[in-house]
Amino acid sequence: MEFYTNALAHVMAFGPLTAMIGATLLGVFIGALPGLNPVMAIALLLPLTYSMDPLVALAMVAGIYNGSMYGGAIPAILLRIPGTPASIATTFDGFPMAEKGEASKALKIACWSSAVGGIASAVALMTVGPLLARVTLFFGPAEYFWIAIFGMASVGVMVGSDPVKGIMAAVLGLLIGTMGIDNLSGQARFAFGQTWLLGGLDLIVVLVGLYALPPVLQLAEKCDLKGLSAAQLKLTDVPFEPGELRGLIPTWLRASAIGIGVGILPGAGGNIAAFLSYNAARNASDDPSSFGKGNPHGVAAAECGNNADNAASMIPALSLGIPGNVVAALVLSALTIHGLQPGPQLFHQNPVLVGGFMMEMLITSLLIFALGGAVATRIFAQFQRLPGVLLVPSILILMCVGVYVINGRPVDLWVMLAAGLAGYFLEKLNVPLAPIILGMILGPMAEQSVRRALLISRGDAIELLTRPISAALAIMTVLVIAWPIARAIRRRRRPARA
């Protein structure tokens, strides 16, 4: 308890508090604009936080993450355009409610459901995270190696439609992670005689390119020259019926549990949590046929589910140093930027920071209640009147500022551009981008761990498998990779027999 009260005192200081309020509002705004997403926003923000206090930087990450997950519901309800991938399920009942003239009511339900999901998820993070970190005190280099490989394998297999391409992306990330001077031997690897490559490729530069440029090019392709009319964004207030809000409580409880469970799993994101929560709400309903026709429980389940995924995805990231999704990877990058090593040691070495970030996830979820109501929604919805083609250069400019200020090197702008173009084509070819980033983050940890383990065992690779935890992690890794391949083979054989 002292862990959190101490952290709370730091979080409630002027800097982190204003950062949380500002970033939550910014997050709602980003989520409300189709084409912008939280990953892109956090990637653009990170380079600007280099000189900031880590708690302020993490407050901004927490605010944008939670705010944008709710913000995505605004265009999903008003226009049937999901602001973020996690709000696709919100369109199913949100837009029919808007068509019936209940847009304001749907937005209020989305706002409150997002807040409830976020709060439940933050509580899970605050309770499960420190427990898991305590377990990892028994880990040695072999366990860390297998944890890194397991994290990458599960993300590689789960995020894309093709597990082979997912693992291929993770291996590419691992290989990129080897660029530069090897910390253990001092050997320069894949530096091509360039001094700027001796430190390896800057993670944030690659990340901004990979995650921000493809959506910018897609926005350009859509070529939106008009934006939306004022009539499309008009809201009329519809009061709640007695007991209507209380009736949503079971849906919120169910969706929160599903979202938290999905969040802890590496690779599964807010969109999966939202779909599962939506399906669970429909299955539990007395009138499943009303779903898809404007049932408020559909909006509540989807929004609560996708926000319940947020803080829970930080559980493996903070306690094991293994990011479950790209935002968690960005949080780990933020910690690395500030010279902090993610993983169990962080809880002991910097309890104020870890506890503070957990509190920030909780407080920014609470802020959605206060800042995400119909008034804010009305204001943010107005930005959708801007033609999309004006957003294209605006985001490009922000990308360039973000990348240039990291090292002040023009070459980083070219690396960003190259990474962005590569990311655009890789996405089109169904190669997921998240494993590349995770590979870059976890690669050095995996390499150092395996080499240390081999040094300890005097080169005997069998030692990597003899300790019970490392053996269990190795088996889990093999199962994670083998399961989708076996399923694909079985699926191929079935029609052949038929």
């Binding site: 910018v216 350009a220 250069p393 500022v401 070819l429 080499r451």
Partner: protein, 149 residues
């Protein structure tokens, strides 16, 4: 279409893997073994993607670029912007980008674009140069004026 794309993708990764493995032979001891193993795995996975594509009977079409002219326009202007941001200066290059990109993509409301550009650039200046004091590429115009003065 999709089949051909996947064959090319697989072959690109095979080439990357072989090139990386070949380079890793120059690195001594354990610092070469790790990238070598990764490069060989990448080669195998690239090969698996290519072989799977060759063996699949799928004739599904997948557009690599949905609107080629807009995408190429945006990519070329973005490249020109990156090339000019240091020699021209950040604000000059960004101002030109804010005007050129929407007009090249088909926006015809020049006054509207100018107003949005002015508001956005003022915001960028206030946030990055005044509030955060981030060092950005110096304006060529200012250097010329100083040289002239």
């Amino acid at each position: 279409m999709e089949k051909r794309q996947d064959i090319v993708l697989g072959l690109v990764f095979v080439s990357l893997g072989i090139a990386a493995a070949w380079m890793a032979t120059d690195y001594s001891g354990a610092s070469g073994t790790y990238p070598m193993v990764l490069a060989l795995i990448l080669t195998l996975l690239g090969g698996a993607v290519a072989v799977k594509a060759v063996r699949s009977g799928s004739r599904e079409t997948r557009a690599l670029i949905e609107a080629p002219s807009q995408m190429v326009t945006a990519a070329v202007i973005a490249t020109i912007y990156v090339a000019t941001v240091v020699p021209f200066g950040f604000y000059t290059a960004s101002f030109l980008l804010m005007l050129a990109m929407p007009l090249a993509l088909g926006l015809r409301q020049v006054v509207y674009a100018l107003v949005v550009t002015a508001v956005f650039m003022t915001g960028v200046y206030l946030v990055f140069s005044v509030l955060l004091e981030k060092p950005l590429p110096r304006e060529a115009v200012l250097s010329l004026l100083e040289a002239g003065g």
